[in-house]
Symmetry: C2
Subunit: 320 residues, 2 copies
Amino acid sequence: MAGVISPSMPVYQMEDKSGNKAFSNLNEGIGRVLRYGAYGSDVLSRLKWLSTTFFEVLSLALKELKREKPGLQFKQIIAQALTMGDDCHNRYNAATSLFIREMVPYMIRCGVEKKILLEVYDFINGNNFTTLNLGMATAKVMTMAAHSVKYSTIVTTMARNGTETGIRVSGLGEEWFTSPAPRVNGLWFPGFSAEDANPDIGDSAITETAGFGGFAMAAAPAIISWVGGTSAKAMQITERMYRITFTKNKYFLIPSLDFSGTPTGVDIRKVVKTGITPEINTGVAHKNPGIGQIGAGLVIFPMGMFENALRSFGRTYGLV
Amino acid sequence: MAGVISPSMPVYQMEDKSGNKAFSNLNEGIGRVLRYGAYGSDVLSRLKWLSTTFFEVLSLALKELKREKPGLQFKQIIAQALTMGDDCHNRYNAATSLFIREMVPYMIRCGVEKKILLEVYDFINGNNFTTLNLGMATAKVMTMAAHSVKYSTIVTTMARNGTETGIRVSGLGEEWFTSPAPRVNGLWFPGFSAEDANPDIGDSAITETAGFGGFAMAAAPAIISWVGGTSAKAMQITERMYRITFTKNKYFLIPSLDFSGTPTGVDIRKVVKTGITPEINTGVAHKNPGIGQIGAGLVIFPMGMFENALRSFGRTYGLV
């Protein structure tokens, strides 16, 4: 991690060796949070605190860390967390633990007063999704490195905006291929049900695009208590994703598959040929504004956008 | 955890609601450590530091914790760690992470100077076996609660001293049943091999006695990188242990088996009937004094002591 930028809306900045940069904001937790559409004085005061107190402590601690290291190496934390029951999309319990283990000495050293230090520590410690946003920015940088490779049929973005789901393909530049956003097969927070759910929304599917998250669910059987399903299903999703991906990840390994690399790089040719589309896990927003996150679950992406992408690929490269 | 006792040889004190108490010393790490037979100025100076600096910080932090809570609830940490890829015998990466998450605020608050605080933090953070000894004391308290129940055929102690392996049985009081200590099927630290290995040694098999450790290996496929085998074998060991145990643990759950409780309570009747003996994972000591830990691996207990225990049970209760 290269730094935390701008106190008006602080973001994490993630950067690779070749200079690709991606950004993500600070995680608010679950439930009544702005990113799922909640608003109100509770939401605003938390955001205010994140952009002042939390930002100040974290950026001081990162400055302290950068006296010793180039930055926080979050790809390594993901790799290790996958051996500790995280998938690193909807389960970040281990990654957040490892983040805490790494950051604590710098937080202690950074010179902030004890009361403030403990306040920030308690927030991080109380929110296992603290590191989700670091994981997303890491995934984004990784997929940027794969983007705009001529002839490549690898998907480098998967994102949903609550109305449509879209992909971009490495060899097809900035063109988006979209389908209507699917519904989530979810577990609901108390008081909510499938009827309250908005169609699939969010940019966190960048984690699956980079070869973890839902694609690594075989590494995270405990996630079924959060997104539903069975441990066999978690295993099957990973096994199915091998059939539509280009390779096994060199860095992200799944212990329960004898440290096989995670399925990485969705290939639009394999998707269309097999009829299998990417399957992810995700949080779910209420369909009405102001309420927030109401559950989490599993989503199977629609086929149409992959077929359209393959047709476009044929046209672009003169194959049809 | 109730406290840390005596600065001459500090030990953890673990205690249950009914007053059972068990103790364990402070973990030194792996390799050249006294508990595996190593000695020398490096070993002694570490022990000295553990019994002074480390002890002082940890006991101050625990005092701070006990202003808010009855003590550190380590059974809960084991339960959570089993959902994070630990077995809690030879893999304590998650448990140590959770211990750190719990203790950090109290360590910060306890008033010790920053330099010392960071020194102790770095030692804990650098040694994922920090919490092994807490796990052992927890297991001991749990098994003490099951001991001396009339007619019970449940094994309440399994221990090895490098020459013999021994068990005690709940309904048979203080009598030990022993067999020669078996050899460990291990992975060796660089420079060592099976020829250097001492027969099985240590009291850490109390973890399996209480229903975790090797019995929970299905929860910890990543442990195979430490003790050898395959992820399928890790799964099979747990499945085999269900055949010789009395029940499924209410607290310790295995996500990859859809949160099935761990096999708990070795029943000498089932051992003799099935011909299956307990299988544990363990560290391995060099056969010569002064060297220390040289590897880790898997051990299958010998049958003789279980047969002898069952015969004694028959005599004790007038069944033969």
